[in-house]
Symmetry: C2
Subunit: 190 residues, 2 copies
DNA sequence: GTCTATATACTGATAGAC
DNA sequence: GTCTATCAGTATATAGAC
């Protein structure tokens, strides 16, 4: 019923918008560019997203967040030991980051920074994304026997370390920060 | 000679631009708003910055970076032990962040994310800013007897942790990430 | 649901008088 | 160095035919 063989305009718009917001940020990405690259007509955009750019961005961030969450889950499931698992996950992210040669942007950070003060709904969906990432790390730690409260704290810390390393790696065009942060994971979890 | 009692248009423009770029990001900040809030005429902007917005942003990021560097230096000088010093610095930043109630933005991150792929000179000045922050942490560690190579690595890691914690704290409107990262500094430096 | 044409406002940038 | 007027382009958003 809801699974269509052919991709509809709404999905095409969200997919294209997700890519462009991630690559260029919120304000640098215009609706004209999104409709043009998605192939969907502009009238269609306001039919599917009556609240315009803000609503489209909210759904785009949700899509991006789900995609990243899946990557995290898959990565963490590869290894039982949590420290090794998280370290490997970050190193895999660094490899992918290097392969793409910085042509993909950072998943959510730019939209979060640009909109946190001007759109409460957009801020909330970015906040949810980060809360979700943290929860995945925390879950992995709890399953490995970490005490609940410490696992929660370390989820926040690990998420911060990863986001910061992404920011610096992206700005400098060098994956070193990601690799160095990965190496510190076993240290902070000891 | 170069120290004028009265603030000239160029300085007013850079100061205002620094504040607005930090608060709103690069693309959301228009030249009309900068000239209006600075009190400087628009014609004056292109007289002082022939390369327009990009050049103004470069000098604004430099000003912001210098200001942050001074804050870091002052903070690190308060305490001799590097772990304690860095931890206290981050906690002070968190306090200031909370006082401002998220009304100041994050110093450089938004501009860095928005421009790294579209302006090489702007990317470079953001990169320099981060390199400078890292060097200050590294210097503190070397002075305390850390081995040079490890001190460099930890400068990068600490800078990443702080930037990431700022990003998450800003997005969520909660200083917890900054405080938790501060608490981990002695752990990673042990 | 799709598509085009258009409205209004604002963007970065420039010209030229003063 | 200052200031105003204005350019061409693009932004988000809407109206209305199909």
């Amino acid at each position: 019923m809801m699974n269509q063989v052919k991709e509809n305009s709404k999905d095409k718009l969200i997919k294209t918008a997700s890519r462009l917001f991630q690559l260029q940020g919120y304000h640098a990405t215009g609706l004209n560019q999104i409709t043009k690259e998605s192939g969907a007509p502009k009238g269609s955009l306001y039919y599917h997203f009556p609240n315009g750019k803000e609503q489209l961005a909210i759904e785009s961030v949700r899509l991006t967040a789900n995609f990243v969450s899946e990557q995290i889950v898959e990565g963490l499931n590869k290894t039982q030991d949590p420290a090794k698992a998280i370290q490997n996950l970050i190193e895999d992210m660094a490899k992918q980051f290097q392969r793409e040669a910085r042509k993909g942007g950072i998943p959510i950070a730019s939209v979060a920074l640009e909109t946190a003060l001007i759109s409460e709904p957009l801020r909330e969906v970015c906040q949810s994304a980060y809360a979700n990432f943290q929860a995945l790390f925390t879950q992995k730690l709890v399953q490995a026997g970490f005490e609940e409260s410490r696992a929660k704290d370390m989820g926040v810390v690990i998420n911060s370390m990863i986001e910061g390393a992404f920011l610096i790696s992206f700005t400098t065009g060098n994956v070193e920060p990601l690799l160095l942060v990965a190496k510190q994971i076993p240290v902070v979890l000891k």
